[in-house]
Symmetry: C2
Subunit: 224 residues, 2 copies
DNA sequence: TCTTTTGTGATAGTATTACTACGAACAAAA
DNA sequence: TTTTGTTCGTAGTAATACTATCACAAAAGA
């Protein structure tokens, strides 16, 4: 199944909607590839323009700067994961099973049922892990937050929070546990690939082991 | 008590040892202030030079670039916290008490017994929370890691790992739990101040509540 | 005492990055 | 045919990142 997965993005994130033209779509698709290839610090609009090919000025007509473009991509990523989780939780009623499924989807490497092109999916996964926190780790975070640029991230955390509440309504730290789960799923994935002494899964690099750790962590907290 | 707290830093981090001259010390001290003030992205050697005051070229004689300077500061921070923990765990034998003490020191806002000047201490705390992960979230992470630039961070995680092992030798994820604890203590602190809907402590902003959450998280996992 | 060496910081650059003003091309509407 | 608007490209500027080289002073040697 490959349907056209379109997310209505916060219009303040772009100057001109990239979904509205071929050039815009090219910019987004190529940006995913280039960001993955050279990383956020080395990424420039000039290099992106060269790869498309177009000119720097054209890209500036779509996005104010590379930070806004990064937020745009990360927002797509979280909206997509959010949708995936809602879709997959459709017929699950047991909260414990729901949590397990959520963890499975957060740690995905190869997700068979995809609504994005494979290139975009793997690229966005990588970018979310390696560059995601750069969206909010900025002096400008409070202003960006006022413009609701982190809404997709908050929405997915809130949804997970609700499932935790459903599992144990007496647990007082559902918000923090939800954001910790999301953050940890990414940071541990990064550590196991790049800073092996910070994770127990660096030898096999098996995402399933990471999932067991996360389940243990979440249920340990919720069952206390 | 205020002793001269000096850490032997990885010499590959600098071109010329900043501890070896007045100018070097000024660069480090002023960098802490400026980073805290304007954040890593806006931080430039030119602005730093203006504040000292000296010239850009002088700073380049000490540090190759601002990323190396950031790693230098973050390494000081973790070495300092490491020392603090070892110092405070000196007379504690009960592993449970040790873990509680570790969590308390990781979340410190105002630490009474300090071996750094107050300005440096608060500054480094802020920088570690808001900019710390930028040290390794880089395409260059594997090369930086080969030069052991993340050793102080790994050392503190390893020490915490050993305490976890001491508490429960059957728990299989001590490395990951240790790095998760360290990361979460920072990310939740950031969230409660800037992205309040991602944390349960945003209302009171009381670090003690965060500590309770972290204790619950760690003991929940270890007691499973 | 007089050189020479060494360490230090300043001057004055270049290349790259981030961003903008303006104009050409083209198509749809009048 | 003219007008209007949309889209993209040309050609800049300002700031940032980094370097080659010079000037000076203190220390070391003759």
């Amino acid at each position: 199944m490959l349907i056209d997965f379109k997310i209505k993005q916060n219009p303040k994130l772009f100057i001109k909607d990239p979904e509205g033209s071929e050039m815009g779509k090219q910019i987004v698709a190529t940006a995913i590839g280039l960001l993955q290839e050279i990383g956020y610090e080395q990424f420039t609009f000039k290099k992106l323009a060269f790869k498309i090919p177009t000119t720097e000025a054209t890209i500036y007509r779509y996005f104010e700067n590379k930070h806004k473009l990064l937020i745009y991509l990360i927002d797509i990523y979280w909206s997509y994961i959010h949708f995936q989780i809602v879709f997959n939780l459709n017929n699950v009623s047991n909260p414990k099973e729901k949590i397990k499924k959520i963890i499975d989807l957060l740690v995905w490497e190869d997700n068979s049922e995809s609504f994005l092109s494979e290139l975009d999916q793997k690229g966005l996964f990588y970018i979310a892990i390696a560059e995601g926190s750069k969206t909010y780790l900025s002096k400008d975070v409070d202003n960006l937050n006022k413009d609701a640029f982190f809404k997709p991230y908050k929405d997915i955390c809130e949804m997970i929070e609700m499932v935790f509440k459903e599992y144990n309504s007496n647990y007082n730290y559902c918000k923090s546990l939800a954001s910790t789960l999301v953050e940890t799923s990414h940071s541990q994935y990064f550590f196991m690939h790049h800073l092996p002494r910070l994770s127990d899964f660096s030898k096999n690099k098996n995402p399933k082991e990471l999932e067991v750790f996360l389940e243990n962590l979440v249920f340990g907290a919720l069952n206390n």
